[in-house]
């Protein structure tokens, strides 16, 4: 934020930030509304964005009167999101913002963050969910042992996407064919071939169908962690 965090200016500028920690620890003996009011008052009685965020999260107003200790994990996460954004900060820091939320609300949160960014706000979020990162972020930073090792556009990250593939085909392809299809790190057991493919899967699928009858096919999109691991391996190799 351009100021020493301990200086007067640094303290003042904290009004312009919002924060959602990964492990949200709230004051359990307070009610939701007490906490919201405390955070708003601390930031100069600013809660201009509260209603909008609460609506997006389908946060029942009646629950605000309940003590935090009675909240479920998802409710606490929702309250944490409202606390982080109710004052419409310039910058918001979020650690795994959709943890504990149901899939429908997760989609709403992605849209909320996109709208927030479109209106000029900046969202810093950390996540292990590639889908989430893809949906919300423009740029991705990879931090390893406290050091920034990469800062990339999301489109670049998507290009590096990994899929874990598992298939059974008749006749079984040879090693040369598997390599031609772009399958990497593969292994075969009882006729089932397991391996990884990089980038978009179209080419691999076309070649697979061309080479024989696919009896069974299963694939999962790699987690961000897998991509990071591949990325690190690459870095180590280069070094």
């Amino acid at each position: 934020m351009g100021a020493n965090p301990l200086s007067k200016e640094g303290v003042k500028r904290r009004k312009e930030i919002g924060y959602l920690p990964g492990e949200l620890a709230l004051y359990e003996n307070h009610t939701g509304v007490e906490l919201l009011e405390f955070f708003a008052e601390s930031r100069g009685n600013n809660a201009s964005y509260r209603n909008q965020v609460m609506e997006v999260l389908s946060f029942p107003r009646a629950d605000l009167k309940r003590k935090i200790r009675e909240y479920s994990r998802g409710m606490k996460q929702k309250l944490g999101l409202v606390l982080a954004m109710q004052h419409k900060p310039r910058v918001v820091f979020m650690d795994e913002p959709t943890t504990g939320l149901d899939p429908l609300i997760q989609l709403e949160v992605y849209q909320l963050l996109k709208d927030f960014a479109a209106e000029g706000g900046t969202v810093f979020m950390s996540s292990h969910n590639l889908g989430e990162v893809e949906r919300v972020c423009n740029r991705v930073a990879i931090i390893r042992i406290g050091r920034l090792v990469a800062l990339e556009e999301v489109s670049e990250l998507v290009r590096r996407r990994i899929y874990s593939v598992e298939f059974f085909m008749d006749p079984p392809p040879g090693e040369k064919e598997l390599a031609e299809m772009g399958l990497q790190d593969y292994s075969t057991r009882e006729g089932i071939i397991r391996g990884k493919i990089w980038g978009e899967p179209d080419d691999f699928l076309r070649q697979l169908l061309k080479r024989g009858q696919v009896k069974d096919l299963n694939w999962t999109r790699g987690r961000l962690e897998d991509i990071f691991m591949e990325y690190y391996r690459g870095e180590e190799g280069e070094q």
Partner: protein
């Protein structure tokens, strides 16, 4: 800062209520049990004379047998249970900072536009208010129950006021100690453990020094030695003792300010 202070005070609400009830009951018991001795004040005097060292450890140095009621009622403040309860209140609240840092609540607090020192001093101010209330309740309780149970030769109101001041300042000092330890600790347990450990050593030191003449030289350093409740209740203004407790409180608060500003969070 006002919002922060209100948050801290709200946290204490339930604990304060429990303390109010507990102290009312205890002060009632102390005043009521005096009746048992009042029929035979000779027995009470004999107890103080025969077990002078032990009684000194319980009621503090400087008790006077001429003010038997004051000496007896002083046991309320020097009673290990009451000492423990009053110390626990201040220490537990002041260690809250270390707990907040451990659980992650501190992460949230430190993103709010408050200087670090206001976060810890709001804790201390709220604890001060709590200590003020419970010390006042204890004094009022003992006085009113003494009237109710017809205790003879009840000390003058000024005596009760001096005791209130002395007790309040002592526990304020322990809260400041807890705050200092909390600014240096990583976990709530660590903060609480160290503070309770230090205070226990001081208490045991005072107790042993009262019983063992060869340890008398350490007594002035044990803090509890200066907690001369019976003298104060008998009407002596505890000026030096109050100044000592307040001075130490200010030094400990200064230390807390110094360390929290420099701590890597």
């Amino acid at each position: 800062m006002r919002a922060l202070l209100r948050l801290r005070m709200r946290e204490q609400k339930t604990v304060l209520l429990a303390y109010a009830l507990g102290l009312a009951v205890f002060s009632g018991i102390m005043a009521w049990s005096y009746e048992a001795f009042s029929e035979d004040t000779g027995f009470l005097t004999q107890m103080f004379v025969q077990f002078e060292d032990l009684m000194q450890a319980f009621v503090g140095v400087g008790f006077s047998l001429e003010d038997l009621t004051a000496t007896y009622l002083a046991m309320t403040w020097r009673h290990p249970l009451i000492l423990f309860l009053l110390i626990a209140f201040g220490v537990e609240r002041s260690s809250g900072l270390a707990r907040e840092l451990q659980t992650g609540t501190g992460d949230l607090l430190f993103t709010l536009p408050y200087p670090r020192y206001s976060i810890i001093f709001s804790d201390f101010l709220a604890t001060t208010r709590g200590l003020l209330i419970i010390n006042l309740l204890l004094v009022i309780g003992v006085y009113l129950f003494s009237l109710l149970f017809g205790v003879e030769d009840i000390p003058a109101l000024t005596g009760f006021f001096w005791v209130f001041l002395l007790s309040f300042f002592l526990h304020l000092m322990f809260s400041a100690l807890a705050l200092l330890v909390a600014t240096l600790s990583r976990t709530g347990g660590q903060a609480l453990g160290w503070t309770v450990g230090i205070i226990s050593i001081l208490y045991v030191g005072d107790f042993l020094a009262s019983m063992q003449p060869q340890l008398e030289f350490i007594q002035p350093f044990t803090i509890f030695y200066h907690y001369q409740v019976s003298e104060a209740l008998a009407g002596t203004l505890p000026l030096w003792e109050s100044a000592l407790f307040l001075g130490l409180t200010l030094i400990l608060l200064g230390g807390s300010y110094f360390f929290i500003q420099r701590r890597d969070l």
